[in-house]
């Protein structure tokens, strides 16, 4: 797969290292996202997945290395160039991050109003089309507080595809959803990607859902890419930490206990 798509990658992360203050989060990350594909970045909570997404979106700047999106080096762009590039990106945040002072309709219309001079009647049609795509046209007038978690996530999804982005990024899209909403979101990610002709990056630790959905998987652990491959390769992989992750085993290479001094000694210390 790597060779076949080497010439048509939308996102290329090249040898990227990143730290917050002293704490190193990402070490020499190499990652490519081919055009038109849905790629999952999986790993335990706190392994640097979301940070990687923020780096690709240009919200953070790496200490070392290069991030290219559509041929442009994200970490070298000026603010204006970065904002121009972001108009072609959509991002779904972990809990939707809808603007709570606006209705669903206004949330979806937000980018159209900010970035285009389209007349109101056209914006209305476009917004209803986006809401229809996520099955929530009738919720247009509801405020975010009146939506359930799953509905809010779908409205946020409609908002992030408002300007038909070439790159969609999903930050933990399945967190906290009931099984039905979870399935709906998963299906929407795939369907929207294919119908928009977009490319998607899904950051998640929801193994079962992600393996059904995506074309390719990067498995990260402790700031490094430990494994890469198709969903079938992931299921068949012999890597013990990945196996523990995929099958949700409580103990293994990732210990159940947070590193601590000897238990017996700790109890007897008094």
């Amino acid at each position: 797969m790597q060779d076949a798509v080497a010439t048509s990658n939308l996102v290329e992360v090249d040898n990227v290292t990143f730290s917050y203050d002293e704490r190193q989060i990402l070490k020499d990350i190499e990652l490519v996202v081919p055009k038109g594909k849905v790629v999952a970045i999986m790993g335990l909570s706190g392994c640097g997945k979301t940070t990687l997404l923020r780096l690709i979106g240009g919200a953070l700047v790496p200490d070392r290395g290069e991030i290219r999106v559509a041929g442009q080096i994200v970490n070298k762009l000026s603010d204006a160039e970065l904002f121009a590039l972001r108009r072609k990106m959509g991002m779904l945040f972990q809990f939707g991050a809808l603007f709570t002072d606006m209705s669903s309709f206004d949330n979806v219309a937000f980018q159209m109003r900010e970035h285009t001079n389209l007349p109101d009647s056209l914006i209305r049609d476009l917004v209803l089309m986006k809401l229809q795509a996520v099955g929530l046209r009738s919720a247009a007038d509801l405020m975010p507080a009146e939506l359930s978690g799953g509905m809010a996530r779908r409205v946020a999804l409609a908002r992030s595809i408002a300007l038909d982005p070439m790159l969609m990024m999903y930050d933990e899209p399945f967190t906290g959803l009931d099984p039905i909403s979870l399935g709906v979101i998963g299906q929407l990610i795939r369907r929207l990607n294919d119908s928009l002709g977009a490319t998607s990056i899904v950051v998640t630790h929801d193994v079962a859902e992600a393996l059904e959905l995506v074309d390719y998987v990067y498995y990260m652990s402790a700031g490094k890419v430990e494994f890469r491959g198709t969903p079938d390769e992931v299921r068949a992989a012999g890597l013990s930490s990945l196996k523990q992750f995929v099958y949700g085993e409580p103990d293994g290479p990732v210990p159940f206990h947070y590193p601590a001094p000897d238990y017996q000694q700790d109890l007897l210390a008094q």
Partner: protein, 265 residues
């Protein structure tokens, strides 16, 4: 012993530098960026109008009612003092000058800080905590231009108007108590006021004060909100800091401005 004192001094210095000077530097840079990104607030003035509604119009009730009561108290207290010198007709002058020069801007500013300033901080802080500001940034919209600047300008525009309304309401309260209730001569109440209150020296200086307070309060409010740690505790702390810092800032600035405007005759 000397070492202990040296350590204490060092800790104190570090606290002052980290808590105050650093933050003041950040706040100044933040104000600069806000001013630089203010184009949108005026080009799309409806954004600012909407915020004027939330900060200004919704503060009207508390400002008007407080103004009325402060004026009525001034009427009672002022009469009580003036009548001892046989100059109760000067009540109008006393009420209007105290309000226009001092109490109007200061009390309206304090009320504005607790009513509107805290709301601005809490709103921006919660928008940050729920990733709404990050989402906006990812949508290629600058949150400083879209969220912060309209709120800032709304506060700066609202504050002098609220202070003026506070003073007007206060004068009316003084009139109700002084003239209607106690029976001070109506003609001298108004005519003495008209003769003694100078537009430039009194009214305009009051407006300048309220404008300065408006800048200070909203600057503190938007900065604290934007800088708030994205947690429940962080937002509540920032809201408290907005009220405390802006109240102190109003009182300190009031002294400085009064000293600058003081003519001593």
């Amino acid at each position: 012993m000397t070492r202990r004192i040296a350590e204490l001094l060092r800790a104190l210095g570090a606290r002052i530098v980290n808590n105050w000077i650093w933050r003041l530097g950040f706040a100044c840079r933040f104000l600069w960026v806000t001013l630089k990104e203010s184009g949108t607030s005026f080009r799309r003035f409806h954004l600012t109008i909407r915020e004027i509604y939330f900060t200004g119009v919704l503060s009207l009730i508390i400002i008007l009612v407080s103004g009325l009561f402060v004026g009525m108290v001034l009427g009672l207290q002022g009469y009580d003092t003036l009548v001892r010198y046989g100059s109760s007709e000067a009540l109008g002058v006393l009420v209007s000058l105290s309000l226009v020069r001092e109490l109007g801007p200061v009390v309206a500013g304090l009320l504005f800080a607790s009513r509107a300033g805290s709301a601005i901080t809490a709103e921006i802080g919660l928008m940050k905590a729920t990733e709404q500001l990050s989402a906006m940034e990812m949508m290629a919209v600058d949150p400083i231009a879209r969220v912060v600047a309209p709120r800032f300008w709304a506060g700066v525009i609202s504050m002098p108007l609220l202070a003026a309304l506070f003073s007007a309401m206060g004068v009316f309260g003084g009139y109700l108590v002084g003239v209607r209730l106690i029976g001070v001569d109506e003609g001298s109440f108004w005519s003495q006021m008209q003769a003694a209150v100078d537009f430039r020296e009194d009214v305009l200086n009051g407006v300048i004060k309220s404008l300065v307070f408006g800048v200070a309060v909203t600057w503190i409010a938007v900065y604290e909100g934007y800088d708030a740690p994205p947690t429940a505790e962080g937002v509540s702390g920032a809201t408290t800091r907005t009220v405390v810092t802006s109240s102190l800032a109003i009182l300190a600035l009031d002294f400085v401005l009064t000293a600058l405007m003081f003519r001593g005759h």
